[in-house]
């Protein structure tokens, strides 16, 4: 600690250069914080205590391949299945094809299997009683300024109605709220319509469902129950694959994009650039202080002390920029989430991200400081003082 003022003074010997390097480090760690939040958000999707109790059954061929609705009764008979429901992807968009809405056509008991979805009993009753009724998540309603009683036109990107038009009309009868904002923020963006209305209106469906959701009585028996459900359709034209909700979500996400790989690739490129940039700064900083380092060694500082001071300077540079960058990310993430109209539900920079970030700062600092520190340690006093 008694060398800190010396290290600090050396770091800011060329203020403009150090500040510019710091700005680069701040930008890199700001990006790291934001992208890590995106990765964490994707990792957390489907991870809830209730999700562990639910199995999702879809076609073994592809998740867009429908299954017969008749399978519901058979699944309900499988030992260990407490409750079963089903749903179809509707693929709705509001006003503009870019305004995609997570819209599902669901069975009457769908919400019963999702205790994370809170809905007012009166709204639930109104939904059950209305053929064209819809329940919408609170974030979605806020995004498009919808309220109960509104008649909403949705355009399905896949399914036409009986007249051949893809324009559908729904009556909003209630608002959905997720009870767990951390893992269930997705439910605040749902648009639920009746599967029966959907099935009767589109000529494309005819008694088929997109997937089944089963609640198991005992989580420890989930694997056995999943195998038993898949055995129902074995060797048929609609073989199924049953997985936990978490595994299904992860599989969907993976088909969408390998977020971990994308984030890793971007951060790899960013940190590689950062290595070159801050490495160059440190090399220059040490090169122009050759005589000063030689004086330190002359008055008795050991080679190891000089090595440690240059490394500490490099790590301090990274820590200063990195902490500011991650702090900025923590401040900006709630704003980004709010600004996305609920499309993004990014978690803030958590303890694990801070720990990973700090480890990266120290590692990058040591890496970029290694060569100049080694040169400073090996500095020959006589040659350095003579300007050789």
């Amino acid at each position: 600690m008694k060398y800190l003022h010396l290290i600090w003074a050396a770091l800011f010997r060329r203020k403009a250069r150090t500040v510019l390097t710091l700005v680069s480090i701040v930008a890199a760690f700001l990006l790291f914080g934001m992208l890590d939040a995106v990765r964490t958000s994707f990792d957390q999707a489907g991870q809830s205590a209730n999700g562990a109790q639910r199995l999702q059954t879809g076609s073994k061929l592809s998740f867009i391949q429908p299954l017969p609705q008749s399978l519901e009764a058979q699944i309900a008979q499988v030992p260990g299945v407490k409750q079963v429901t089903y749903a179809n992807w509707f693929g709705g968009a509001y006003q503009d094809p870019h305004n995609q809405v997570f819209s599902f056509a669901v069975a009457p008991n769908y919400i019963d299997l999702y205790p994370e979805i809170a809905v007012d009993p009166a709204a639930r009753k109104a939904f059950d009683a209305s053929r064209t009724g819809a329940l919408v998540g609170e974030t979605l309603a806020r995004r498009f300024h919808w309220k109960v009683g509104d008649k909403i036109p949705l355009q399905s990107t896949i399914f036409p109605n009986r007249e051949g038009s893809k324009n559908w009309s729904f009556d909003i009868v209630g608002i959905l709220h997720s009870t767990d904002k951390k893992t269930g923020g997705f439910y605040d963006q749902l648009f639920l319509l009746h599967w029966k209305y959907f099935d009767e209106t589109t000529p494309y469906n005819r008694g088929q469902v997109g997937w089944y959701v089963s609640r198991v009585a005992d989580v420890n028996q989930a694997d056995r129950v999943a195998r038993a459900i898949d055995a129902l359709s074995a060797n048929s034209d609609h073989e199924t694959r049953t997985q936990t909700e978490q595994a299904t979500t992860a599989s969907w996400m993976k088909q969408l994009a390998d977020i971990g790989l994308i984030v890793g690739a971007i951060m790899g490129a960013v940190f590689f650039t950062l290595l070159l940039l801050s490495g160059n700064t440190m090399m220059q900083a040490v090169r122009e202080r050759t005589a000063e380092l030689a004086v330190l060694k002359t008055i008795g500082f050991s080679s190891r002390s000089v090595l440690a001071m240059v490394l500490a300077e490099s790590v301090l540079l990274l820590l200063l920029g990195g902490v500011v960058g991650l702090g900025l990310a923590a401040l900006l993430i709630p704003g980004v989430s709010a600004g996305s109209g609920g499309m993004l539900n990014l978690p803030t920079v958590g303890a694990s991200s801070w720990l990973l970030g700090l480890a990266l700062m120290v590692a990058v600092g040591l890496l970029v400081g290694a060569l100049p520190a080694w040169r400073a340690m090996r500095l020959n006093i006589v040659d350095a003082l003579a300007g050789r």
Binding site: H5, L6, A9, T298, I299, G300, I381, L385
Partner: protein
Amino acid sequence: MGTLIELRNLSKVYERGRQKVEVLHHIDLDIAEGDFLAMMGPSGSGKTTLLNLIGGLDSPSGGSIAVAGQRLDQLGAGALARWRAAHVGFVFQFYNLMPMLSAQRNVELPLLLTRLNGAQRRKNAGIALQLVGLGDRAAHKPGELSGGQQQRVAIARAIVSDPALLVCDEPTGDLDRQSAEDVLGLLRTLNREHGKTIVMVTHDPKAAEYANHTLHLDKGTLVEQATA
């Protein structure tokens, strides 16, 4: 006064690529404790090399060098660094102060290697600055001081840990006449009133007049010894 520095058959050879350059040839020299010695000679005569060996900045190629009974030629790099921190103060031609530190912080540098706490370090550095007549310039950075003042800060840094030996390489080489006389007067005070043994390299005969003895080197050999 006893002998502080003993050089016996001291040689120094530099290797520059395939070439070997013998800079010092079999030097024998005793320097008494409390002496003020000036070393003169043409460029390339080996003055600075000899000074570096006496200050423990370099190791001889042959012979022995002992300071206060300590054989420097037998010490490794780490031990030499510790020995320098405890026993030698250095004054350079171009001051070699840290430009980003105040005079006070520059003077404190050698004390960072001691067990003194922050308050003690500040106190001792303040005393050293008072001694060189710069007590009121403690907060100034080197760029805010004249050349003579910077050299006095460098002298304060050299004496702050109270070493027995000061080695000075052209301490007035970058100063005007008045500043040079101030610095030389200060060195003479340190020698006479504080008992510091001083070995100074200089090109300037007037600077050498402040010393008790003057040695002349030529082509790595002692050619003459004059007494003031």
